[in-house]
């Protein structure tokens, strides 16, 4: 008998092709939107975290003000030369301590110019960042101390200004400083935050402070630990030293932050988590709208089909047989729509993850939620109005137009 009911249901679905198609469409759109959005959101989060993790945990970033989204480093008290000197003298198990002061500046060569990141630092910067020179040489101690007008170009700047032309030994103008190119850097690509790390010009810190910034501030200190050194101990040492140097008493919070890329990434993950939630909310709305669509079509169709229910009752169908047919019909449509929706949603997410080069993160939970939710709507709104109609006296059901 169940097989007969299934056949009746399939027959009814095929007879009402347009109505069935619209119901199906509602389910498919709702399910696929939720699955695609959440999968893409999750992929983005994983991508950011992976990128961050690649940068390693043996490099510590020290900045004024604490790390974290919404925290500013600009308003906190900046570091100075003495901080760097003290760190170099007192910290154990470190490879390099690199000071860094930066702002955006215009760089000009001949007719070419672009806005880039001007970084004042010294020879330790490349070491701390585990960066390689493509050509030329690093800063000399003498150049750093006396503030010579020399610079090292990132790949992007070098290509933009010089194209294929030789850049070593040429003079460029950075902000209002005319300086000689002594080296170029290997490309490093995008950071996890999507910024171009090759769009930089390095110049000696002293030169930067005197001739570009006009102060003696240091905005960042990058500390790289020796391989095998305990970075959490190095981190604690840095914190202790800086608290002492900045006169922070026992109970007060740090007014600076020390973190490795993993920790910064974790703080950032809160932001991408919010993004995922936002995407989920949008997807949830589309699921809801899809659900309302299904609901409407089901309600309208049952009203339309009340006469059909009356006919079936008149020729001897039991109420339960008519209901079972409508239930099987709704379940069949919902399952079919749900399956297509899951396939479409995952396919869409797969295509986007290939296009945006983010990992494809399959989340069984959201697939189940989307599937069950739309199936439930289909069944509930297919079943209950039908039950109301099937409970009428046959003649009342027949009289409905």
């Amino acid at each position: 008998m169940f097989f007969e009911t299934l056949k009746l249901a399939v027959q009814a679905i095929r007879r009402n092709a347009l109505r069935s198609f619209l119901t199906l469409l509602g389910i498919v759109i709702g399910v696929s939107a939720v699955i695609a959005m959440v999968t893409i959101g999750n992929g983005t989060t994983v991508k950011v975290q992976e990128e961050m993790a690649k940068l390693g945990t043996n490099v510590l970033f020290v900045r004024p003000g604490q790390w974290g989204p919404g925290r500013s480093s600009a308003t906190a008290k900046q570091f100075n030369d003495r901080d760097v000197v003290e760190m170099r003298e007192q910290l154990r198990g470190i490879r390099a301590v690199a000071p860094l002061a930066q702002m955006s500046a215009t760089v000009v060569y001949g007719n070419e110019s672009r806005s880039t990141g001007a970084i004042g630092t010294d020879a330790s910067y490349i070491v701390a960042q585990d960066w390689e020179l493509a050509r030329g040489r690093n800063f000399l101690d003498g150049e750093t101390r006396s503030g010579q007008a020399v610079c090292i170009l990132g790949k992007t700047v070098q290509e933009q200004l010089f194209g294929g032309e030789e850049s070593l030994g040429k003079r460029i103008r950075l902000s209002n400083v005319s300086c000689e190119v002594i080296g170029t850097l290997e490309p490093k690509g995008e950071s996890g935050f999507g910024t171009d790390r090759d769009d930089v010009v390095l110049i000696p810190l002293r030169t930067y402070q005197r001739r570009i910034a006009g102060n003696t501030d240091i905005n960042r200190i990058t500390v790289s630990a020796l391989d095998g050194a305990d970075t959490s101990k190095v981190q604690a040492d840095i914190e202790r030293l800086l608290r002492e140097r900045r006169g922070i008493s026992g109970g007060e919070e740090d007014d600076f932050g020390v973190a490795d890329m993993k920790q910064i990434a974790d703080a950032q993950a809160v932001t991408t988590g919010i993004l995922t939630m936002l995407l989920s909310a949008v997807a949830g709305v589309s699921l809801l709208v899809g659900g309302i669509g299904i609901m409407n079509i089901m309600l309208v169709s049952v009203t339309e089909r009340t006469r059909e229910i009356g006919i079936r009752l008149a020729i001897g169908a039991q109420e339960s047989q008519v209901l079972m047919q409508f239930l099987v019909e709704a379940v069949t449509l919902s399952l079919l729509g749900g399956a297509i929706g899951v396939a479409l949603g995952l396919g869409l997410a797969g295509a986007v993850s290939v296009g945006m080069q983010i990992p494809f993160v399959f989340d069984l939970g959201i697939v189940l939620i989307a599937f069950v939710f739309s199936a439930l709507i289909g069944v509930v709104f297919g079943y209950f109005p039908a039950r109301r109609a099937a409970q009428l006296d046959p003649i009342d059901a027949l009289r409905r137009e």
Binding site: R15, A314, I315, G316
Partner: protein
């Protein structure tokens, strides 16, 4: 009452209404569609029920067909008190003993003639292989052998009504109830439908009860019952007996 259980076929009266009333609405708005009617139909009769619209003839027909329930009175079908049956049992009664033909045909749209005729058999639990020959035979009986695959929209009104009659007789019912079966048809087609009903009555012994407001159609019946204002105004059987 199970599917297999049968009614007392020896009861001479297939249909026996005693003091049956039907009212709609309550209080001031109460409408009395049927007012304490008594009606007895014997096995094998061909009865026409006549009367102006609103006289209660269709209401009586719906109660007899167990599509509707009386507000008061007793209705015995083949000796069984229908008022004591629940919804399920009334559905079984319709399934096994009653065939319906409606003025508006009431066929399932976009569904082929043979599938429409098969429908009552599905609910009887017959398999496709058993249903198809019976349905085709019923279609042949009403002269539509060549139209089994046509949907209602591809058939004329007369042909649709023939499909409906085939659907009604495919289960070999004891009683065929026809509510204005020719109401939507032209005279010639109406006559064909009436010939078919008479033939089913005489050759298969099906008890036929037909509502109509056309005297020509009532002329095919051997007994005519006239309704007026919810009561039976005249009954040719009673007149003959008197």
């Amino acid at each position: 009452m199970s599917d297999e259980e049968t009614f007392d076929a020896s009861a001479p009266n297939v249909i026996d209404l005693r003091g049956v009333s039907k009212t709609y609405g309550r209080g001031e708005a109460e409408v009395r569609a049927l007012d304490r009617i008594d009606l007895t139909i014997r096995r094998g009769e061909f009865t026409a029920v006549m009367g102006p619209s609103g006289s209660g003839k269709s209401t009586a027909m719906n109660i007899i067909g167990c599509l509707d329930q009386p507000t008061a009175g007793s209705y015995r079908f083949n000796g069984v008190e229908v008022g004591r049956l629940d919804r399920k049992q009334r559905a079984l009664l319709r399934r096994h003993y009653i065939g319906f033909v409606f003025q508006g045909f009431n066929l399932l749209a976009r569904t082929s003639a043979v599938e429409n005729v098969e429908l009552p058999l599905i609910y009887r639990g017959l398999r496709q292989s058993e249903r198809r020959p019976l349905a085709l035979k019923a279609l042949e009986r009403v002269g539509l052998a060549g139209r089994a695959g046509h949907t209602p929209s591809e058939l004329s009104g007369g042909q649709q009504q023939r499909v409906a009659i085939a659907r009604a007789i495919v289960t070999d019912p004891a009683v065929l109830l026809a509510d204005e079966p020719t109401g939507n048809l032209d005279t010639r087609t109406s006559e064909e439908i009436m010939d078919l009903l008479v033939d089913l009555n005489t050759s298969k012994g099906i008890t036929v009860l037909m509502v109509t407001h056309e005297p020509e159609m009532a002329g095919y019946a051997r007994r005519v019952v006239e309704f007026l204002d919810g009561r039976i105004a005249s009954d040719s059987a009673v007149l003959e007996a008197a």
